[in-house]
Symmetry: D3
Subunit: 219 residues, 6 copies
Amino acid sequence: MRILVINPNTTSEMTDAIERTARAHSSPRTELECVTPPSGPKAIETAYDVAIATYHVLELMVSRERDFDGFVIGCGANPGLDAARTITNKPVAGIGESAMMTASSVAARFSVIMPTVPGGAALGWEGVRALGLERRCASVRLTGKGVLDGFFISWDEMIEMLYRAGKLAVDEDGANALVLLCAGMTGTKEVLEDRLGIWVVDGVISALKSVEQFAAQST
Amino acid sequence: MRILVINPNTTSEMTDAIERTARAHSSPRTELECVTPPSGPKAIETAYDVAIATYHVLELMVSRERDFDGFVIGCGANPGLDAARTITNKPVAGIGESAMMTASSVAARFSVIMPTVPGGAALGWEGVRALGLERRCASVRLTGKGVLDGFFISWDEMIEMLYRAGKLAVDEDGANALVLLCAGMTGTKEVLEDRLGIWVVDGVISALKSVEQFAAQST
Amino acid sequence: MRILVINPNTTSEMTDAIERTARAHSSPRTELECVTPPSGPKAIETAYDVAIATYHVLELMVSRERDFDGFVIGCGANPGLDAARTITNKPVAGIGESAMMTASSVAARFSVIMPTVPGGAALGWEGVRALGLERRCASVRLTGKGVLDGFFISWDEMIEMLYRAGKLAVDEDGANALVLLCAGMTGTKEVLEDRLGIWVVDGVISALKSVEQFAAQST
Amino acid sequence: MRILVINPNTTSEMTDAIERTARAHSSPRTELECVTPPSGPKAIETAYDVAIATYHVLELMVSRERDFDGFVIGCGANPGLDAARTITNKPVAGIGESAMMTASSVAARFSVIMPTVPGGAALGWEGVRALGLERRCASVRLTGKGVLDGFFISWDEMIEMLYRAGKLAVDEDGANALVLLCAGMTGTKEVLEDRLGIWVVDGVISALKSVEQFAAQST
Amino acid sequence: MRILVINPNTTSEMTDAIERTARAHSSPRTELECVTPPSGPKAIETAYDVAIATYHVLELMVSRERDFDGFVIGCGANPGLDAARTITNKPVAGIGESAMMTASSVAARFSVIMPTVPGGAALGWEGVRALGLERRCASVRLTGKGVLDGFFISWDEMIEMLYRAGKLAVDEDGANALVLLCAGMTGTKEVLEDRLGIWVVDGVISALKSVEQFAAQST
Amino acid sequence: MRILVINPNTTSEMTDAIERTARAHSSPRTELECVTPPSGPKAIETAYDVAIATYHVLELMVSRERDFDGFVIGCGANPGLDAARTITNKPVAGIGESAMMTASSVAARFSVIMPTVPGGAALGWEGVRALGLERRCASVRLTGKGVLDGFFISWDEMIEMLYRAGKLAVDEDGANALVLLCAGMTGTKEVLEDRLGIWVVDGVISALKSVEQFAAQST
């Protein structure tokens, strides 16, 4: 089966990170392509960014829909997800939605870890509520850095940044699982699980696994 | 990794069906054991059945917890799921919860297909609402048969029964995916997807895939 | 004060209709400009249409923001409304949101009259719920025609179409006011009020009046 | 068109303030009458005050209904609003309801500024929730003074009192607009907008503008 | 302990009926007084009636508060209940609120039986929702007669009227208990329980029993 | 009438305390039996405890159902309540549910006083929300001691512990009534009411009074 993974922002280094995670966790029968849209925001932090990114995600969906069996939208804000589902009958997963649904499938309560964006934690809670999962969400914790500031740092700094936010979620909010809401945080699941002792959901993996359950049939 | 799949009712033929699906879809690295509790209800249709089955699920959890890396509770009513999560830090998925969360990860709106039980579709809606997914649920459709009456029939009769309910969900309710809420319906996903043209979620598969994303780390 | 009225679809005849209503009801101190975006959907009926129209609305907002004191987005689906509010501090009203808020300001319960679109009345209810007004909404009634089919008809046919839907809302649903959700229905308020005996909210008027209350200060 | 503006409390100085605002903002075609009920509470701060004021508002409504084309109830608690709408088909607006609906028509999120009453901010939130607008309300901020204590002060003191509460709403709660919930705060909109840089909703104006959109037709 | 039972309407025959029930079920230590207000609506069917009755209930509360240890407001719409609780620290129960709370204390789901009023069953549902009990309410069933038309009939006719509505609630809605929402239905509990085989809640009894649990202490 | 009172934990001293309260407040016509299940948790503090206790409560219900006219489940977590209602048509009350419903029948807002359990006040709020009473609950206050630690202390220590929690509820949360959520707190109602000056709901009394209203008819 062929799955198209769309990074809705135009930071190609983030597309590379998403691709590394996806290739490491895809089924042997899955054929992957990871794409960066030709234009749009470098990072998605506001309702305006989401609207612009949505447009470019949908352009990609329209032009490539016939060539794939399933789709992953690689941004925690799920830009274009609802609209994409109206232009294809194939499975489409967003990493934000999928990560929260998967966390809710294995743990009593999850905390969301997200970049510090204008609007703050309220934006994260809005996303949680839009999915109806507010009773499952222990807290929304910000990393203290924006999307790109938290991505273009060393591995050790990133782990430290996520560990600090996750530790507060565990110790003060009683979280049983963490949702990494930003694609820029991908690849850190195992290390964080080791250090924090709770389950960490990487939306790239969970979205891919969800799509594979259904795209598999269309080959 | 070792995963324990618990069939909360005492109908061993249903445990066998669950096991066939689980073995067909588990990762090569997964070691499975499927168990039937020594006593309890033959089928789980009422709040009373759920309460009794919960007790036996928890007995199994307590006695076998150390031997496994993750757990699947193989009943759409998820008996004992909340309590099980308080006695282990390992991932525990219920097939009812997991199926609805997975359907919500790939499709705009799902319909629930469930046996005809006392209390009717209202019970199914209660389960949907408990997860916060009422805005994602297009309808709850009953099969016209109870849990055991709908299980101990021929393959053709079962497919016909599920097809009829699913067809109504597609044609009249606008469902984009079907959730098979009863473990007795397992194994029919591919045939129903072919005949109905929409995605069908088999909770045994989705629960297993969710647990595998996390249990994998604990080996 | 200068107000920019944006018709989010590319049907310029609809922009003309919106402009006629806006000019007839604007304050003497208001200077209006009504624009049609250079590209985008001819009519906005699906989540996909909304996403594409949003992009073009935001392009217009970005390029013209400095020249105006307030903005009206002339589509019942309010495309780009949330994002527009993040890129300007000036008042921005969507005719769908504004019409429902205004109906709720003068009447106990309103009914929504909207074109027949894919997804049907469920889409209208989604809009109502997104604003938190479900307890104020008596019903959502469809006209039986799509956006353009219901716009490119004679005056008499349009009045008859809206009267029929409105009459059901009054007689069967107990509505105290009607919300005309589509910009293509603008200009019919007075005739419908005379025939139906209840208040009719034309979002073009209500959005303009709301913006005028605030844009007035920025001159 | 003739509009009756009812001040539900018996403080005639407040009726005068309401009348000044209403006259300054009414349409040239509007004929206004502002009335103080013969008896009732001097200020409306508790559920008991609301109940008593409701009675006197309804007496006025019953005796004057035939003489007017629309009605404004000039108190943020909207006493008698629901009942008034059952005894007339003409538009009836309450300044509390109308101010929140209008704020929601032009801004992403509003804060409520209200007098310090027994029960505190919880009362304000109750009003917000009754309208379904809790997702649009950034905060409820108290002035530190009761209804009459905050009214019978100098202009400078009143502006300072409202500015302080509004500043906290802007700086700490992220409000995009302010709702002045008490009729005793009327007339301060322009000054506060200048000092705070965000939109301020004076319910007397917004209620009048809403009623004018509909009462206009009945002449 | 002394308990004041207020019939909020001015139909003294209904006060008599309320008094008969109250005397038959009060504790030996309870001293009862049942009063009819000097003026107000003959029956309470609309929001306007509620507002007027509220005023007269509060007048009675204010003038008699010192003489009693607890209060019962004998109308299913609970007029003045919230305001009454702000002017006394003694227990105040409304028969509508109390009946639904008591039904929820002993049965899974109740149906409301109420007179046919303008606005219909929607009014009953509003009352249920205001208490947060919508998940416990199986249905709202109308008797087909208004408050007075259903009161001034023979005993046999009243029983037949209530039996018919209750039978539908049992057979079609799955109710486990009935709430008689109107004080005019008092005195029929035992006969209806015998004929219908489910529990019937007479708000006069349940309100009295609730108040007795607390008023007892103040003697 | 015969009423069975079940203490769902196996601490017989708590059964004795429940029995003392029940005997002191039951009607002369009531015949009581209070039972301790043969096995199960000594105290009920977690979801796991609830699940195990539920099993034993249902065993008792099944074996004794024929001998009684009504049932009280003497634990604030109401273990087995929903299931019990599916195996009998007789009234079944849980002291947690009943206490909150009764508090809501006489007071504007109540606070819950509960032992300090794993999960903290969030567990109490979950119980409040499950009943739909969140708008009536002023706060959940913990005693600082677990179920047994707060039971096996001297009378003076228990009163002091409950008084401290209740005082905070009155002074800081504005509670009008207290709900004692744990059966181990029974018997303190009068003393606490005297010291705190607000109503205190002892679920053993309120559940008994609710059941007596209906069980009375079945003799």
